[in-house]
Point group: C3
Chain length 346, copies 3
Amino acid sequence: MQITTGEIASFLGGEVDGDPNVVLTGPSKIEEGKPGAITFLANPKYEEYLYSTKASAVLVDKTFKPQNRVRATLIRVPDVYGAISQLLNAFSGGEEIDRKVDHLAIVDSSAKIGKEVAIGGLSVVSGEVEIGDRSVIHPQVFIGKNVKIGKNARLYPGVRILHNCIIGDNCTIHSNTVIGADGFGFQPDETGKYEKVPQIGNVVIGNNVEIGSNTVIDRATMGSTVIQNGVKLDNLIQIAHNVIIGENTVMAAQCGVAGSAKIGKNCMIGGQVGISGHIKVADGTKIAGQSGVMGSIKEEGTSQFGSPAIPYSDFLKSYIGFKKLPEIMKKMAELEKQLKELKAKS
Amino acid sequence: MQITTGEIASFLGGEVDGDPNVVLTGPSKIEEGKPGAITFLANPKYEEYLYSTKASAVLVDKTFKPQNRVRATLIRVPDVYGAISQLLNAFSGGEEIDRKVDHLAIVDSSAKIGKEVAIGGLSVVSGEVEIGDRSVIHPQVFIGKNVKIGKNARLYPGVRILHNCIIGDNCTIHSNTVIGADGFGFQPDETGKYEKVPQIGNVVIGNNVEIGSNTVIDRATMGSTVIQNGVKLDNLIQIAHNVIIGENTVMAAQCGVAGSAKIGKNCMIGGQVGISGHIKVADGTKIAGQSGVMGSIKEEGTSQFGSPAIPYSDFLKSYIGFKKLPEIMKKMAELEKQLKELKAKS
Amino acid sequence: MQITTGEIASFLGGEVDGDPNVVLTGPSKIEEGKPGAITFLANPKYEEYLYSTKASAVLVDKTFKPQNRVRATLIRVPDVYGAISQLLNAFSGGEEIDRKVDHLAIVDSSAKIGKEVAIGGLSVVSGEVEIGDRSVIHPQVFIGKNVKIGKNARLYPGVRILHNCIIGDNCTIHSNTVIGADGFGFQPDETGKYEKVPQIGNVVIGNNVEIGSNTVIDRATMGSTVIQNGVKLDNLIQIAHNVIIGENTVMAAQCGVAGSAKIGKNCMIGGQVGISGHIKVADGTKIAGQSGVMGSIKEEGTSQFGSPAIPYSDFLKSYIGFKKLPEIMKKMAELEKQLKELKAKS
């Protein structure tokens, strides 16, 4: 794809500050820019790169004033981040497959397939499945019995959706993620052996949800494990049975949420966080990476850190103390000694 | 499936307290119960829901005495949890496939397939494989050369069992789990480059083992990585080469066990726990979530917490101190000041 | 495979101390050795097993002097670890597939396939893919559009390489690992909803890289996520978009590296470590298991521990203090009391 600085500026609703006829071949990071590249300056921390970049064009805020000479053509836009997103979309190619059912897919005759749906080779679509219009099922996907998938879904190679699960509109699920595996439920007998508790619920995923690769969302024991509209889950995440995750909550890679926990909406949860079972996390909670939330968080909008997690700034203060512990112990021994001497004197 | 309260009570060995002719259509949680649903009250914490539930029937302990008026029909049973399990089994449907080898499965002619075995489409069964009677291999499974699988196994879509591994009877392995990948063994040379140590052992899994989704159990360098009878492993778990896990140990999601560790029997290991290589964990050990066990645990039946892990109650006491560290530092400064003043006076 | 002690000694450049005609059937660990097995003694800690092992032959250092009577034949070699590696290679069988394109693989006509390449059944090779000589693509692998794979690669069942990614020579990727899934990039709007930032970069993997099972390496937003030559990644690891991992760095299972972090070369990173986004970790850094590295590490060759991570020995000293916190609080109360008494007296 080739496009000029002038065309891009017009497409983004911005203005060219320099040559409008420079031909651009693709986006790049500002520190890696080569001739033909378009890049951006959003964070002032990176301003130094603006003066040395070899990129041909740079998106900047419309009010930006360079401190030094800039070789690249500037494209001034009202919202740099918004413009980057539009730009990347424009250049994006991605993995595309034909909007048809591949002859090497196994599709049950009872499945209802919408318009302009792609089903890749070596995928399995089981009985009573419904797939909405314009959804793309890549090769090697498994869709179990009675699964319902909305419109504009995109399921990458190796995704497994087990029986009875429901996926809303505009959802993207990345490779090798498993939706609807059995929850981890076992009942011990008196000898210490475990008997399986059947897991007969399902997983219900709302609209506009994106789920990374190699993530697992277990079906409910009874009822549903629920991922609400707009939730974004990264890779390698564990969502146990009967968990509920509220709207527009984002969760970074390798988090784990234990059974029946209820996470509020608009939460931001860092990588490798663990959340205990049967607790509630209030709306708008932020949890720092590697924290372990072991009790309910009732107040909305707090920040948490540590394992077990406590309020963020409290953790930081205590951790300063932790680092000083060798010194604290030394001082304490000194105080004890001095006090003993004083007592002997008095 | 439809069944009456009377039929359910008879099936569970319980007694109807109310109308024995109510038609039930499926189970639900007590707080979500709708007409037609059967639910249960096992934990007294949820008793309030008994009086407001719209479910048509509720399993309760045979000795239970309601404090208020109950609209639902009660079914009194000797063991509520046991009854739930039976009930869920009764209502369970699950993913079923025909007990035959699908014409789109690739099955080597040297494989020995037992009676009433299902092998789903797009699965691969390699040479010299043996699969016991009534085992169900879902679609898109890979079974490598010379793998032996017992009776009544269930392997979900995307499971990979690599060459020479052995799986006992009555084992369930969920989607996209990998058994028998190479262990992580490399030998550095003097320049800092690593050379692979061949991993020529296998994985041996006992009877009645259940393993979640996207879990990995690596083959031994030499000999076997061993998962003994009755072990239950959740999702996204890492079991390294030459690990041994004792009978009826349960491990929650995202745990990692490093090479050659020996975990005893009847242990309960929380989510995201890490266990170092070459150590032993005694029988009956309980390890709290996110703990890091970095040395052997010799005494049986202890509880552990923290990273590095220490006895559970010690950790809790120290963590109270951790939270008080800012206050401790302040007090210490105050003590120092007072002591200085006293010394000046004396 | 059967071979005599004399043949093995000659193969390894060692000397037989005992009967050169003992027939060996395979390797084993010293504590599990059975007649016919060859084992080794490298770590003096295991010397006791030398005197009780039932193995028929034991590799030992050429200077080794037994303290007691040894029944097994000794094979004396200059470098025991090197010899083990050679030996395991000699006995190794592994999963092999025919060097041809299986008739049940889907291979796009525009793909360029090198000499002696194996492509297993039910694998997908998309348009414009290039695969180098002698590479082995096991069954059920997905290779997206325009992917380039070097010579002697080995991709195990269930590996997914998405469009435009590049893999060097001599790389091994284990089952169900995903290379080139979208990075986790979303831009919030004023209502708290997130819009996807297109991820249009790729993943570039150097030569001699080995990657475990169920690991995920995300494509860059723009540019490349880079895994340099000789890197070894274990199972269930998360590498986010735009990360760079330097040559010969090894990373144990379940580590997570957040977006745009730059890890130096020759680092050794323990299991379950988390590394924050946009930071740099210097060459030769060692990070203990479960640590959380939340700021850049500038000095080369240090050891780190804790969450947040601090220098290794500092962490250990502080952790001693952590364990003593209940005692510290008690002593402090005692000091306060004594001081109060003294003040009252004075």
